[in-house]
Amino acid sequence: MTTTHPAPDVADSSDTPDGGTIADSTMWTSRLRRAWMSKLPPEKLLPDRQPAYVASWIYVFGVLTLAAFLVVIVTGLVLAFAGPAWYHTSWLGHFTNSLHFWSVQLFFVFMVIHLWGKFWMAAWRGRRAMTWITGVVAFLASIGTAFTGYLVQTNFDSQWISFEAKDGLNAVGIGAFFNVTDLGQMLLLHACLLPLVVGVIAVWHVLLVRLRGVVPPIDAVDPADRADVRTDLLAARPDDTPVPEARP
């Protein structure tokens, strides 16, 4: 038995150059796809070429941060399934907790190096401010996520950290909503909400990197530029925009 789709309404069936109909081209789905493809076509989303200046070890730390985040999530999922007290009584649990602990340490080491690298590269140049901002938000959200992780250890460390941290948070009113001595609240935030926040911001950050491309070196010279463009560049230069070197 064959299923047939109902014939399109005659008024909607006028052709468009891409083989669809005018009605198709006004669909939200079509519009979203076209907008996505014009901004981030596959070759830009998953490129196999990068500008020649992308040749430094500093570039590795961004992807290392993402890799460490993946290990943090996987080991955290195992701990989440087994419950917060599992690692106190099981060698496998303790080892899993050790994997989680060290992957978090690596995550922060890589992320901080990545952040410093981007600072010294002034990587916000060229309409990349939002890339910098999402990176900083991801960093701050990661600190919050790690902090709640320390609070749900259910050991002496978490007792002391919650006792000490409550004063700082209460002093500015945050303690009324974010109660560090409430294990249930901290566990839900640590295992559900905050990793989701970090993950979403990280995806946004990576998409912005793909959208804008990797920032060129400070004072880089575009081979396409020539002497007649020089004067324009000099006249309009903001303080964070490089003055291109004059060519012989």
């Binding site: 080892f95 050790s98 002496f156 909503f177 070196p217 575009d222 560049l233 964070d240 925009t241």
Partner: protein, 325 residues
Amino acid sequence: MTTVTDKPRSTDIAARDWKGPWRRYDIVKEGVIAVVVVSILTVLLAGLFSSPDEPQLTFQGWATSAPDNFYATAVQELAGTSESAGYGPPYNTAADGVSIGPIAPQQWFGVTHPVDAANDFVLTPLRSQQQSADVTDALATWDGAAADQQTSWATDYDTALTDAGGDLKQIAPGDYGPVPVLAQGLTDMAAAGALDGILISQGGFYQTDFTKQILFLGDGSYLDDAATAAHLQGNTWGMMNETGSYPGQAWLWLYSFWYQIPTFNSDNPDDYLTSHADAVIFYIMALLSLILLLLPFIPGLRSIPRWIPIHRLIWRDYYRSQHRT
């Protein structure tokens, strides 16, 4: 040679598509290698160094190893002189909390996690179990007295205990009502291990909020002494330390840094910045975080990478090739 373009070109080279040379870059291969390397590194570190897990403190441990301190803390809870009893929002209304000028967010949201130190920490746990005759009589005497009388008994005994340096044998004679018996009853109960369970359940079955236990535990010196021994105090970079020799939250170094400055950590607790350190340091860190967030828009700060040419090292191959050109 003149460049001809169809559209006006951006004057910012960083905002344009790159027109210079390109190189092969296998981004997927790089990602897979990164995951493998990080996974191996994590397994190695976990296998070699394990991870910290210092056992939790218990009320039984406290009442067993430091019974005098536990006893004195129970008296303070009844007298309302403990840190928890006089904390203020969000636990009670005994104090106003920290404010800086008219900015008093600790008061704005009121009491959201109510804690009645005398009842929650001492009287309710004692009532929840069958007690000896003297404790039962002491509870009845306490319940039958007026609030002023209760306060008078407890504060007088707290003062006498403090004057005696915590030595029960040196306490001056006086009318302390049922307070000594209640404090001893709670100490015995804690030493037997019963208080831990009662405080955890708090009269219910399910419970995930440990606010009362943490506050009570912190009122005595037991938790504080353990933290000092583990180098976890705030004035010794405790915020970023971990038990044992493990790395802690090193990323909080700047937050912890402010607490090391004598201005925020003086011997006189009445110094304004010391007594308001928690709030002031939070606002400083919030401001610094905002500056970091908005760095691309802050003149001067955003130009530091240009003034200190570390980028010359990062892109040394590019600059070398430019120099040759």
